[in-house]
């Protein structure tokens, strides 16, 4: 162990040779590697360097963080944990239970995080009462995106109930337009599913089913109804949806081939980079029903030796939740800041809607974690649900069968 730490230090020193010797240091494992995301992290690196820190980048993309988590396990087992790691949801607490996370309460209290973060989001950042992670942003999952021209020329308004959505879809289908652009990958199926579940079941139902895993709720008639709606939606996607990347689905909405897409707010980046204007070329709204599903990215600090690295962790945590980074990062990424006191003047109308809805949901208790994006449940449990959702969506399984399978699958996931 000692030796490997020595090697790590030696390698790190070799890489950063020429940089300042003393001062905060951090090796950061994250999966933001593409254009906008990478630029966003670069902002953090810039601030870190301005404060005298040395940033060593350890990017691993793929599978929404799966590959990074693989690398993380290997690193932790070999006694060579990175300084800071992009982690989110219950995974933070799971790693804490393994005894490998560092406590950053000192920074959090000095910076007054408790006052600026919504309570439910702050809850994700705490392990047994102490702070163990720093939130970066809030993605909203339950968005529905639409092509403005297509809706207008077919006389359709943004739907506010699933019945309205279905009516609109029928109309579009008759006009030869694909109602729903969708990519048939398990996580995308799950994304739609949770939006439908929130809309039809309501926030309380969602909480019971996908946070508490209450068996009666999972087997309820409401759940059958939700799967029925999924089957209906299956009729609104084109024949070639299987395996399609989400951004290709977004492109279908953009060029008018399809009318709607249900996807988190990163889809906005795709519209914007194609030069489309929100409210004019494309419309954004929350999916039918009340509530707000969030996906919060965050960084957790791992136990490491050396004062330089510990100083690095503190500095990093402070900067991540700092006003400036929260603003710049989220402008790039399409999400909204996790702290509520950031001025949103530079943000677009979709982001304003998102921030307003978040504040409202936070007050009335409908601010809920996304199960599909790993915020609500442990991986084994959310995976068990997704298996059923995607199996149902891609076959002719009946809703009753699906509900039965869902209950079994969740029970089998420990």
């Amino acid at each position: 162990m000692k030796k490997s730490v020595f090697v790590t230090a030696a390698v790190a020193a070799f890489i950063t040779a020429g940089a300042a010797k003393a001062g905060p240091e951090a090796e950061v494992l994250h999966w933001w590697t593409s254009g906008g995301e990478a630029k966003s992290v670069a902002v953090l690196q810039g601030e870190f360097a301005d404060n005298g820190g040395t940033w060593t980048d350890m990017p691993v993309a793929g599978g929404g963080g799966d590959a990074a988590m693989t690398a993380l396990r290997a690193r932790v087992l070999s006694g060579n944990a990175p300084t800071a790691v992009q982690l989110k949801g219950p995974a933070i607490q799971e790693w804490y239970e393994e005894g490998v996370l560092a406590d950053i309460s000192a920074v959090a209290e000095a910076e007054g995080w408790a006052d600026v973060l919504p309570a439910s989001i702050a809850g994700h950042m705490k392990c047994e009462g102490s702070w163990c992670a720093a939130p970066v942003n809030v993605h909203r999952i339950d968005w529905i995106w639409a092509n403005a021209d297509v809706l207008k020329s077919n006389g359709i308004d943004m739907p506010t109930t699933w019945a309205e959505f279905n009516a609109a879809a029928e109309k579009l289908q008759a006009a030869g337009i694909i109602p729903l652009a969708h990519g048939g990958q398990a996580w995308q199926d799950a994304t739609i599913f949770e939006a439908v579940a929130l809309g039809i079941g309501g926030p309380e139902f969602f909480q019971k089913a996908f946070v508490d895993l209450d068996m009666d709720t999972l087997k309820s008639d409401t759940m059958v109804e939700i799967f029925d709606q999924m089957r209906t939606l299956r009729g609104y996607v084109d024949a070639n949806f299987a395996g399609r990347d989400w951004n290709l689905a977004t492109a279908m909405v953009m060029n008018g081939e399809a009318a709607f897409q249900i996807m988190g707010d990163w889809a906005k980046g795709e519209f914007l980079s194609a030069g489309k204007v929100p409210g004019q070329d494309f419309l954004c709204a929350s999916t039918p029903g009340e509530g707000f599903l969030y996906n919060v990215d965050s960084f957790a600090m791992f136990n490491v030796d050396g004062d330089d690295k510990k100083a690095g962790q503190d500095l990093l945590a402070k900067l991540i939740v700092g006003q400036n980074f929260q603003k710049v990062f989220n402008l790039n990424k399409g999400s909204i800041p996790a702290r509520v006191d950031v001025a949103l003047d530079d943000f677009d109308s979709c982001a304003h809607t998102s921030a307003k809805d978040m504040a409202m949901s936070s007050d009335n208790g409908s601010l809920l974690p996304s199960y599909a994006h790993g915020m609500a449940l442990r991986g084994a449990q959310s995976g068990a649900i997704t298996d059923v959702v995607t199996a149902h969506f891609n076959s002719d399984m009946s809703s009753a069968e699906a509900v039965e399978m869902l209950a079994n699958s969740v029970a089998n996931s420990l």
Partner: protein, 304 residues
């Protein structure tokens, strides 16, 4: 090399002397048509990748994904090599290339050498239990790498090689031995045992026989082994991502970082260009090694 499309009755006789042989000609045409069709099948994905890499992103968004580019641009290639972001750094694949080279070359050489010696022992110096050892090694080829990751990480930590390139080399050599041994053993087993016996009678020792008899015969199988090892190690992602750290990540990890972002804007042209660039060393090995492959064969050294 035997030309079987030439009717056997004419073996040895120059067909030109008898004028045009229509059956022969038809068979040759059929042969070339078949070979050509297969070539098209094999080239299809490369065609898609190359054409996509030469398009602009706008064209990809609006046009058909597998059409020829309306306007050829090499921007994507430039970006992939030295401009695209693989994390905070936006220096393309370039910085990762060297890591892959210093990992792959020693690992291929070591694994090939070990395989040659092992194969030689198993095929020509059969001792009791040699076949059992060979079987154990072969079965080892089948262990899924996903299984190995976690205990291997622990072992590398204990050995003090965590996150380092020597660590990656060790891993690749260990999991390469099974295959290299297999290749050499199956090659050497076709060389008559009398050869070794005669040499032993002449007083040649273990290493001398290997050096002066077996090694000179080995070019084709060395080429096959090197192709196999080089490809596997260069293209490996799972070990590369698990046993590296900042600064030692191989090119496949960088490629993955370019290609596999979930919530970012996908630049398919850059993805495809990056994939081709990352594959250039292996492609080069195939082309160059292919040449030696022929040379080894035309030297007439391989005879069962």
């Amino acid at each position: 090399m035997t030309d079987f499309t030439q009717p056997h009755t004419q073996a040895g006789a120059p067909s030109a002397a008898k004028g045009i042989n229509w059956t022969h000609l038809a068979l040759r045409w059929l042969l070339f048509t078949l070979l050509g069709l297969f070539a098209l099948f094999y080239l299809m994905p490369l065609f898609v990748m190359v054409t996509t890499s030469l398009k602009s992103l706008d064209e990809i968004r609006t046009g058909s994904l597998i059409a020829l580019p309306r306007e050829v641009t090499f921007d994507a290639w430039r970006t992939a090599w030295s401009g695209t972001c693989t994390g905070v750094q936006c220096e393309g694949l370039r910085p990762y290339f060297w890591n892959s080279v210093i990992m792959t070359v020693p690992a291929v050489i070591l694994a090939t050498m070990l395989g040659a010696m092992n194969g030689y022992v198993i095929a020509q110096w059969r001792f009791k239990g040699a076949n059992l050892i060979f079987s154990l090694m072969l079965f080892g080829c089948f262990i899924p790498f996903q299984v190995v990751l976690l205990p291997m990480a622990r072992m590398l930590g204990i050995m003090g090689l965590a996150g380092s390139i020597p660590g990656l080399i060790v891993v690749h050599v260990i999991y390469g031995i099974g295959f290299t041994t297999l290749f050499f053993r199956n090659y050497y087993v076709t060389i008559p045992a009398e050869l070794t016996k005669a040499a032993k009678v002449d007083g040649a020792g273990f290493f001398r026989i290997f050096w002066s008899i077996f090694l000179p015969l080995s070019l084709p199988i060395v080429v096959v082994t090197v192709i196999w090892q080089f490809t596997n190690i260069w293209n490996d992602f799972l070990f590369g991502v698990s046993f590296s750290q900042a600064g030692t990540q191989p090119v496949t990890v960088a490629l993955n970082n370019i290609v596999n972002s979930t919530t970012g804007v996908k630049e398919y042209n850059v993805d495809m260009a990056a994939a081709i660039i990352a594959a250039l060393p292996t492609l080069l090995v195939y082309v160059v090694a292919g040449k030696y492959f022929i040379r080894g064969l035309t030297a007439g050294s391989v005879k069962g």
